[in-house]
């Protein structure tokens, strides 16, 4: 039986995200488990209630490079992974819409859960990305910030 090569799909772009589409993309005959994380815009942030949207700003090049490093570390930690997709939307993301998606497929579920959680946890602390809270009265930079921690081997 020919083995299917591992496949990454990384994107940082203003286009809308479809978790279902990424799950379909990550489905493989050699993998019995798919774990997907979808980060959606919720109605309250650390500082504001009644959030209407978030606005994400980045350098797409630096952000994609950083995500590529994260996925590389994940693949070395969990070599059985099949497909890995990490997509981050930029620009305006309205309430309940998807800002970031991680999808991981693997033969068994434990490494899919572990790798998906590692990818989103590390993305949040390592990827150059800034968001503004937007509510009816105005907008301001999110107060939910951390110093960037460069991606390390796990």
């Amino acid at each position: 039986m020919a083995s299917i090569p591992p496949l990454d799909w990384i994107s940082v772009a203003p286009s809308e995200l479809s978790v279902g589409e990424l799950i379909a993309w990550a489905t493989r005959a050699d993998c019995g488990a798919i774990v997907a994380f979808s980060g959606t815009v919720r109605d309250s942030s650390g500082s504001h209630d009644e959030i209407e949207a978030l606005e994400y700003e980045t350098s797409e090049e630096l952000a994609e490079r950083s995500i590529r490093e994260i996925v590389g570390v994940a693949r070395r930690r969990w070599p059985a992974l099949g497909a890995v997709a990490v997509h981050h939307k930029t620009g305006r993301v309205a309430l309940t819409e998807t800002a970031v998606v991680v999808v991981v497929s693997s033969p068994h579920r434990q490494e899919a859960f572990a790798a998906a959680q590692f990818c989103i946890d590390t993305l949040k602390e390592s990827v150059p990305m800034w968001k503004r809270d937007v509510w009816s009265g105005g907008s301001e930079w999110s107060s939910d910030t951390r110093d960037i921690i460069k991606v390390r081997e796990g």
């Binding site: 980060g39 994400y56 700003e57 980045t58 350098s59 630096l62 952000a63 490079r65 981050h88 800002a99 970031v100 989103i120 993305l123 949040k124 602390e125 390592s126 990827v127 150059p128 990305m129 800034w130 968001k131 930079w141 999110s142 939910d144 910030t145 951390r146 110093d147 960037i148 460069k150």
Partner: protein, 78 residues
């Protein structure tokens, strides 16, 4: 000349996303940027990480005409 990229709150404080400044270390480039953009920018640089061509660097790192210096305040992505 070294290119500068200001991101997020640093972009807002600078009032621009890009600049070019002729100097030969990260510190010298940023000192000139602080003069150009003033106090709010200076405060953000104080809490920011500086990357040159995607790598974290210290202020005494030398830079040349093809280097890209990015000013990255604390992040809030995802």
């Amino acid at each position: 000349m070294p290119r500068l990229v200001f991101l997020g709150p640093a972009r807002e404080a600078a009032g621009t996303r890009h600049d070019v400044i002729d100097a030969d270390t990260v510190a010298a480039v940023l000192d000139e940027a602080k003069v150009r953009y003033g106090r709010a920018f200076e405060e953000i640089v104080a809490v920011s990480q500086i990357w040159v061509n995607g790598e974290v660097v210290s202020f005494d790192t030398p830079v040349g005409p093809y280097d890209e210096i990015a000013v990255l305040p604390p992040v809030s992505g995802g």
